[in-house]
């Protein structure tokens, strides 16, 4: 790999631009999709690899190429810069997520509490989430316990394509939340997308244990192993 190719790949990663690296076997000749004009068969293979987010070999005529997609990391939006969030952020980052913390309470959302592991957003949660445009590669976790902050976030989350939505709070808290969301016009099926109480049931008690249960549940959802909030 040339240093120039490496720079292009890293710039693409930094700007969340999907790019595929194609390497000819065994001589190592390389090109990038969509940066370079490629023969149609190679361009199609690169496009398919990006769509499936899966690397693999492709044979075109006499040549074998290895196609490696580089897609932007999945995101985790955490609403509430609370104690559990402090434990959650480094674990989610280690699991490969770009983490964004949303909390308009500036005393909580400080660099000191979250170092460089997460981006901090101090807008009101509904405005912040609208701007972040959650997609099928986004997980949303609300941790504030405060309906004034959690509800607007969940309202946007339920209208988005987020692959995971979780809300901290007991069953009783969640029952009240469900009633409020119904009142706001969300249907039963939509509300059932919310994993609450948040996290896999591993008997978590401490903040790091709760964070672990959340990361485990989000990973299970991402890998298609989550059914009704439990491992399927």
């Amino acid at each position: 790999m040339t240093p120039e190719t490496l720079e292009i790949l890293q710039a693409a990663r930094a700007t969340r631009r999907p790019v595929a690296l194609l390497t000819r076997m065994p001589d190592g000749a390389q090109c990038l999709h969509p940066d370079e004009a490629l023969p149609p068969a190679l361009a199609e293979a690169a496009e398919a690899a990006l769509l499936a987010d899966k690397a693999g070999p492709v044979t075109v005529g006499e040549e074998t190429w290895f196609v490696q997609p580089q897609t932007p990391p999945p995101r985790m939006i955490v609403v509430g810069a609370v104690h559990v969030a402090q434990a959650l952020v480094p674990m989610a980052a280690a699991a490969g997520f770009s983490v964004i913390i949303v909390d308009p309470r500036r005393a909580f959302a400080t660099e000191e509490r979250f170092a460089a592991d997460a981006e901090l957003v101090t807008e009101w949660p509904d405005e912040a989430l609208e701007a972040l445009r959650p997609d099928s590669r986004t997980a949303i976790v609300t941790l504030t316990h405060d309906p004034k902050l959690d509800d607007p976030a969940l309202d946007v989350a339920l209208r988005s394509g987020a692959f995971y939505i979780g809300a901290l709070g007991s069953r009783r808290t969640h029952a009240k939340r469900v009633a409020r969301l119904q009142e706001a016009g969300h249907g039963t099926e939509a509300i059932a997308r919310i994993n609450a109480p948040v996290g896999l049931d591993i008997g978590a008690v401490t903040a790091p244990e709760i964070a672990l249960s959340i990361v485990a549940q989000v990973v299970a959802a991402r890998r298609g192993k989550l059914l009704g909030g439990k491992l399927g």
Partner: protein, 106 residues
């Protein structure tokens, strides 16, 4: 494949420090290989390692080849598997098979 660690970033940092770097990438797997295609291992001439191409079974062998690749500048495509005599040497106990491409970062 969105790796959890950014091996390329580590490789870039090492290169910026003036180290020679080689990159190894899993390009094909069969059976129960622990790391999927696209998994990367970066190796420096001074012996630093980042990332992985297996569960630790073949990294030593790949790192040796990476040293040759850095010296010659010529990439190599390596086969590892239970049908390979070398499997005993490098101990691919999982029973999987994989191909690893090793190239210089230059």
């Amino acid at each position: 494949m969105s790796g959890t660690e950014d091996i390329l970033e580590t490789a870039r940092a090492w290169r910026a420090e003036g180290e020679s770097v080689a990159l190894a990438t899993v390009v094909e797997t069969w059976g129960s290989s622990p790391r999927p295609a696209g998994s990367r291992l970066a190796v420096t001439v001074s012996g630093r390692l980042a990332g992985s191409v297996s569960g630790g079974c073949i990294e030593g062998a790949v790192a040796d080849v990476a040293q040759q690749v850095m010296k010659t500048g010529t990439p190599q495509l390596l086969d590892f598997g239970i049908t390979d005599e070398r499997a005993w040497e490098v101990g691919l106990a999982c029973g999987g098979k994989l191909k690893v491409f090793v190239e210089p970062l230059a």
